[in-house]
Amino acid sequence: MSSDLLRPPGAVPEADFLSRCIRCGKCALACPYRAIRMAGLLDGLVIMGTPIIQARRAPCYLCMKCVPVCPSGALDGRVKKREQVRMGTARINKKECLTWQGTFCRSCYDHCPLFNEAITMDSELRPVVNEKKCAGCGICEHVCPAETTAITVISGGTK
């Protein structure tokens, strides 16, 4: 499963984002985890210069430092709390997931910043994503010990 390119927290819907973002790099400079990268040509000509996050490489820790520095409104300044963030939604690939395959593992559950809300355990202690709460930060994808990460964030949340 290849991982999706995510936008930083507070990003407006993609089509709007592409016309709003002025490619100034401020959000990338503000990210203390260097999770936000400026897209290059290989990421796609149209998104060149825009901020992207590849969760497997470095996820978003929802520190919310990038949102207020955006000068163009491409990152919506009204998104202030991590609970408001909708960068995407995590999906579990049950065929790859260690726990769903019978080995005990709770990496994603333990590391989720919205602990026990966005990822919960079902009655048999298997991780389940709560799509209503998931911010799409990608920490679960980053920490997943499965070789081809069993949990990935699908981008395209509305806010």
Partner: protein, 264 residues
């Protein structure tokens, strides 16, 4: 007092800041951040007027915060002329260097177009029209100072640079071999936009009336102008970016009488 040494100091400071800002941000100091597209100084936000107008056209939305942040740079241009270009812009620094080297080597140039303000406004209009048509921030891809500063930051943060830098390479090759200072003088949309903020009171190079007789007719002012302007004859705006090289040359030749000077 000669102008060029002061200008060089400002230029060195600008380049140093361009490198220092990403390094500071990286070490957790965020009081200054951004690039030549948009810069944050504490709570103050400064945006290149071209980029602000581009956003207005690309999104068809009147973003008050973004447009307000372009007022200070626009105001600066209105009072002091295109000093951003000659005193701060990193592309101008590269172009000046490139021109100095190429002249030292005595390379021939194949074209020497006359100053043509219309051509540069046509380029600006085309870029902005395409921005509006495609709802895509195209002007960002043609802002040489923006590209240089963002790619500097990218090099510091990620250890790589992007394809955007191809524009800078093309500009420098063209200026080295084809046309002297073609980007700043004839094409750059950032400079053209700043040039639009212009009034009769904007600072410019003039022959001071009381000192007209001090002019010895040496034409040194025109010879030192990298943009190929003739301060004695041409209407300088909007090509002239107030670098002051002609004034320094004039001062040298006339023994500090300085008939050529900045005036508002």
């Amino acid at each position: 007092m000669r102008i060029t040494p002061i200008r060089r100091t400002v230029q060195i400071f600008a380049v140093a800041a361009m490198v220092a800002v990403p390094l500071l941000n990286l070490s957790g100091v965020n009081a200054v951040s951004g690039s030549f597209y948009s810069l944050s100084l504490g709570p103050l936000s400064l945006t290149d007027p071209l980029i602000a107008i581009q956003s207005l056209l690309a999104t068809m939305r009147f973003d008050v915060v973004l447009l307000t942040s372009a007022l200070i740079p626009a105001g600066l241009a209105l009072v002091l002329g295109r000093v951003f270009c000659s005193w701060v812009c990193p592309q101008n620094i590269l172009s000046e260097l490139c021109d100095a080297v190429s002249r030292r080597l005595g390379l021939p140039r194949f074209f020497a177009p006359a100053p043509a303000p219309l051509a540069r406004y046509l380029v600006l209009a085309l870029i902005l029209a395409a921005t509006l048509l495609f709802a895509f921030p195209l002007a960002s891809l043609f802002s040489a100072p923006g590209i240089i500063s963002v790619q500097t930051a990218r090099l510091i943060y990620e250890g790589t640079v992007g394809l955007e830098l191809v524009l800078i390479v093309i500009i420098l090759l063209a200026e080295f071999f084809l046309v002297r200072r073609v980007w700043c003088n004839h094409l750059c949309p950032v400079g053209s936009m700043l040039g639009l903020f212009h009034s009769r009171k904007t600072m410019r190079v003039v022959m001071v009336e009381e000192e007209t007789r001090a002019c010895i007719g040496c034409r040194e002012c025109g010879r030192v102008c990298q943009l190929g302007l003739n301060p004695l004859a041409d209407k300088l705006a909007p090509q002239c970016h107030n670098c002051g090289a002609c004034i320094d040359a004039c001062q040298k030749m006339t023994g500090d009488r300085r008939p050529l000077s900045f005036r508002f």
